[in-house]
């Protein structure tokens, strides 16, 4: 037993040293905890080599032990995985809905549905007018509210500057540009240049051109990525012109000269 306590002591000391080093390096608390756990796992494993033999269970006791094991395992799996950073399925659902909505709008069925919705809304308005006419008799009828255009999202693109920026940022997220490009200190895996100063280097039209045709510009120092065609040539199919313009306008607003965005070189 003495040997076991000795090993536990060593484990705790090693864990303590690791936590101390991690703290001195200003590592997040989760990592300090992780290092302590890893040191203790090591100590427990080594202690188990010397631990006295435990009795073999049978009958109801063994059944209860098996049940406890499974409850524990399932709980640890669920709690452990839930404590890791979670993506929100709602985000993905929203993206899918948008993608499907666009495809649906383009399809014959989508066009039909849109018209039917419009016809239904007109029908309702006509009914409302009819009711008012019946109700007010000879009185003046207040002006009919303007008909909301079908597809609020499109209206937003055509709307004010704030809406354009919102759609632009939305497209950045939707097309997952952050997977390759760093912006505002987030995202990027060095596959594409950091874009915080792109607005100072390219006009909105040029950014739009680059998105639609990735071969039109090459970021300085990204020769290999350019030659390999790392930037996918798919966005002109995935975005409509208004959405692409919104994304380009939004990107064009980034003019942070303190960030070294590589100079774009015109290629074609």
């Amino acid at each position: 037993m003495g040997n076991i306590f000795k090993k536990l002591g060593v484990g705790l000391v090693v864990g303590g040293v690791l936590v101390g080093v991690a703290r001195s390096q200003e590592l997040p608390f989760d990592f300090q905890l992780l290092f302590l756990i890893i040191a203790l796992i090591g100590a427990v494993l080594f202690m188990l080599l010397d631990a006295p033999s435990i009795g073999v269970m049978s009958g109801r006791k063994s059944l209860a032990a098996v049940a406890v094991f499974w409850v524990l395992l399932i709980t640890v799996c669920f709690v452990g995985a839930s404590s890791l950073p979670q993506f929100d399925p709602e985000d993905e659902r929203a993206k899918i809905t948008k993608l499907l909505e666009r495809e649906r709008e383009k399809s014959e069925q989508g066009k039909t549905e849109k018209l039917l919705a419009l016809a239904k809304s007109l029908d309702e308005q006509v009914k409302k007018l009819e009711d008012r006419l019946k109700g007010v008799g000879g009185e003046a009828i207040p002006a009919v509210a303007p008909i909301p255009p079908a597809g609020g999202r499109r209206a937003a693109v055509a709307g004010g500057e704030d809406d354009v920026m919102k759609v632009g940022e939305e497209q950045w997220q939707l097309q997952e540009c952050y997977n390759c490009h760093k912006l505002r200190g987030e995202g990027g895996k060095k596959r594409g240049p950091e874009l915080d100063n792109i607005g100072s280097l390219l006009t909105v039209e040029e950014i739009q051109q680059k998105i639609a045709d990735p071969k039109s510009f090459m970021a300085e120092g990204y020769d290999k990525e350019y030659a390999k065609g790392i930037m996918p040539n798919k966005f002109k199919d995935l975005m409509d012109p208004k959405e692409m313009l919104a994304l380009a306008t939004w990107l064009g607003s980034f003019k942070n000269a303190s960030v070294n965005t590589p100079k774009p070189i015109k290629k074609s």
Binding site: G42, L84, L100, V144
Partner: protein
């Protein structure tokens, strides 16, 4: 259609003018009524009359139900395809080496196959019905593409069933002479058909992730093009190895449970030995598994970079931290079992190897810590400000693939050395070249470890493509070289070695049995996790880039809720396997009682387990 469009425009223009022109209203109402007539017909055509794309079930949902049944079918399939490989290898060892207990072990596991095979087929049938019912459009499309291979699959099933019955029911009748050779050939055929039974449906599954669609050609040509898709062979190899690992660890778990429950010494010896064999096969498969996994990921990146990014750097990246955790526990559990073996089966060896064990444990834990380091840390705003971003200057470096590939290779090397240590325990070298041989092996190991680390560090300074194509591949080749060099050298050394301490079977403490069970549970959990990863990597596509998932379940479930399903699948699978074992061995205790004293029980010690080479051959 254009008439409706025209009509709508007319009404739109007219409405604002209504104010003050009440007389027009009646006309407009008539127009609306006129428009409504054709629109009713179109609505019926567009929604009600179209083919059904999806169906659902209340509460659990179609996706979750299909997920659970598919995962259970896959795990059972892994079991019924892994066990024959395991059993056949044991039979061949018994046939060529004369060790009867290997034959007994092979028979004990083949006995499980008939009931396991039926259960697997049952779950396959349920899965098919559910898929046809819930996803008719997708199944229709897949049938169009793969129709010829559906027929082939049915034919293979017939062949496999016939071979399995002949192999199992002919076991006792084909024990001697040429009949035994025929039986071994039947075992080979069983595995040959089983391999094709695995790779044919693999084509359907991999096609969904990396489809190759040709518009022209015959049905056969289209099916063949779709079958030979970029991830087909990487998955085939990965699953083949994983099935052997699963078979090995389940054998170990079965032996562990029996070891804990048997009463007499002879049975304890037998199940202790069986546990060793199961763990040995599981570990050797496990050593090769990361290589296959690496190849698969490489192919995914080459097929579609976005899919690779989704898996490794996108929303699924934390899943790989979980994977590292499970593999880490598996490596620790397998090594722990070897160390327990040294401590309890070979008395006197523990003090000799204690320091080495401690060194190995520390190295494994360090490697695991690196493997588990994420690239971007979860930090509060204050913590992130202190670090200067989401990437810590030190830990950020450890979170990339170059570091992870290096430590995974080192963990493989350490586990291999753990096994060699176990193999050598209780022996004294007598060969004249022993000192030189050991020096060569030591040098190989040290140089290989240094080379793996150097390549890993160098990997930071070269383009990713050079690292992936040359450096990581070289690391893998170095580790394979070490295994292929040290294994025969050790075998040669031990051929003339003197046994100083006989191996004592049946002396392991109960926790050895528990560790075998835990290892099996970890492998199953790992397989369920990777099932979720493979399926989620397609994101909202049934067939990536070809057929979009437009069902309400097109999104990927979050890791936390997904892990609950994975844990339940693991639980259900273990219950099923326990049931299969129980059914298959139900009559054994009565037979054992009747034939007490006649049965063959293990006495020998396998050479690889540290026994004298002539042991176990006298039977």
């Amino acid at each position: 259609m254009s008439a409706i469009q025209q009509g709508v425009k007319t009404i739109q223009r007219a409405l604002p003018a209504v104010n003050g022109h009440r007389a027009w209203l009646a006309g407009l109402l008539l127009a609306a009524g006129w428009l409504a007539l054709p629109s009713m017909g179109i609505a019926a055509e567009g929604t009600g009359a179209g083919p059904t794309e999806y169906r659902d079930v209340p509460y659990i949902g179609s996706r979750t139900l299909v997920w659970i049944v598919a995962q259970l079918h896959l795990l059972l399939a892994g079991f019924v395809l892994g066990v024959p490989i395991f059993a056949w290898l044991c039979e061949v060892i018994a046939w060529r080496g004369g060790e009867k207990r290997y034959d007994k072990l092979a028979k004990e596991f083949t006995k499980l196959l008939t009931s396991a095979y039926a259960t697997t087929a049952l779950f396959g049938g349920i899965l098919l019905f559910l898929l046809v019912a819930f996803y008719p459009k997708l199944m229709n499309y897949l049938t169009d593409v793969f129709f010829p291979s559906f027929l082939l699959y049915c034919f293979l099933f017939l062949l496999e069933t016939v071979t399995l019955y002949l192999y199992w029911y002919g076991w006792d009748a084909m024990q001697e002479g040429r009949k035994k050779s025929l039986h071994v050939f039947l075992g080979f055929l069983l595995n040959f058909f089983a391999l094709f039974i695995m790779i044919v449906p693999n084509a359907w599954a991999t096609f969904q992730a990396s489809p190759v669609v040709i518009a022209e050609g015959t049905a056969f040509e289209r099916a063949w093009a779709a079958t030979w898709n970029p991830t087909w062979w990487p998955i085939n190899i990965h699953r083949l190895i994983a099935n052997v690992v699963l078979g090995g660890y389940i054998c170990g778990a079965y032996a562990g449970v029996r070891y804990l429950s048997v009463k007499n010494a002879e049975d304890r010896e037998h199940y202790d030995w069986m546990g060793y064999v199961g763990n040995f096969i599981g570990v050797f498969g496990l050593l090769a598994l990361p290589f296959a996994g690496y190849w698969l990921m490489r192919e995914i990146y080459q097929y579609n970079q976005q899919m690779g990014i989704t898996l490794m750097g996108g929303f699924l990246s934390w899943l790989f931290i979980l994977q590292a955790m499970l593999i880490g526990v598996l490596f620790l559990g397998s090594n722990y079992y070897f160390w327990l073996g040294i401590t309890y089966r070979i008395p006197g060896s523990e003090s000799k190897y204690r320091k080495a064990m401690l060194m190995m444990l520390v190295s494994l834990l360090l490697c695991l810590a690196v493997w588990m380091t994420p690239h971007s840390l979860v930090a509060s705003i204050e913590e992130a400000q202190k670090m200067g971003g989401a990437h810590h200057p030190l830990l950020g470096v450890l979170g990339v693939m170059s570091a992870k590939m290096t430590v995974s290779n080192l963990m493989i090397l350490i586990t291999f050395m753990s096994f060699v240590m176990y193999w050598r325990a209780g022996k004294r070298d007598t060969a004249g070249w022993a000192a030189f041989g050991k020096a060569v092996m030591g040098a190989i190991l040290v140089l290989a470890s240094i080379a793996v680390i150097v390549l890993g560090v160098w990997g930071y300074f070269v383009p990713a493509i050079v690292r992936i194509n040359y450096f990581s591949t070289s690391q893998v080749l170095i580790v394979i070289f070490v295994i292929l060099t040290i294994t025969p050298l050790t075998a040669l050394l031990l051929k003339s070695a003197k046994t100083t301490t006989e191996m004592v079977w049946g002396s392991m403490p109960p926790r050895a049995g528990y560790s075998l069970v835990l290892n099996a549970v970890m492998v199953i959990l790992l397989m369920t996790l990777m099932g979720y990863a493979r399926s989620s990597s397609r994101v909202h596509w049934h067939v990536y880039g070809v057929m979009r998932d437009t069902s309400p379940y097109a999104y990927s479930p979050a890791l936390g809720s997904a892990s609950l399903i994975m844990a339940f699948c693991t639980f259900f699978f273990c219950i099923l396997v326990a049931f299969i074992f129980w059914v298959a061995t139900m009559g054994d205790k009565y037979k054992t009682a009747a034939s007490a004293g006649k049965g063959e029980l293990p006495h020998g010690i396998p050479a690889m387990a540290g026994g004298a080479p002539n042991k176990g051959q006298q039977e």
